[in-house]
Symmetry: C2
Amino acid sequence: MAPQLGDKIRELRTKQNLLLRQVASKLDVDTSIISKMERGERPIKKEQVATLAEILNADKQELLTLWLADQVMDVIKDEQFADEALKSVTKKIKKGK
Amino acid sequence: MAPQLGDKIRELRTKQNLLLRQVASKLDVDTSIISKMERGERPIKKEQVATLAEILNADKQELLTLWLADQVMDVIKDEQFADEALKSVTKKIKKGK
DNA sequence: CTTGTCTTGACAAATATTGGCTAATATAAT
DNA sequence: ATTATATTAGCCAATATTTGTCAAGACAAG
């Protein structure tokens, strides 16, 4: 199953032997913030995702899609009629909105 | 296509010849707020949807589903990879999250 | 022109979000 | 065990967003 964006970022970072503080300085935020982002404790801003893709040499589109999926999940988690609503939205956007 | 929640509410209200201020008082908000809710200019709170279903003798589940679809739309509108993200989320929730 | 309904915009108060700091906790090496 | 480095947790202040209230405007009916 598709991971959450935070998991993906941590995976990319550790595979390249980068430290939190190294990524943090490039992203210009405190180390603790990145740590929280990776663990899903803090939301990640869209522009930050793009920057992270560059820092980590990752596919920007892939990360942005994960990011968006996280946003959607935030909205529908714990919702009883999530499936119905998703279906309806899917239809709607296929028609060019 | 499924209407937005606001449209549906206005439809229900006018068909029953109810005035904004009548619904407003039952919902305990200012008239202007309802007006904006119906036109999608102000977000509607989840609890308010349930109350509105009672006031308007509508199906609570239907309204809540419309409400949720609106929430999702807010997130994905203007997003390039909306379809991809939606697909992934749909899969994820089918597996019981 | 008066009345009633609905809409709109401006404003302030309340709430939420954000990031930084610092201290605490791991983890690893010697 | 001590040192060095990495990560995480908690709290605070600044900022942004949301919220409701109010007054004024638009519009139609009589």
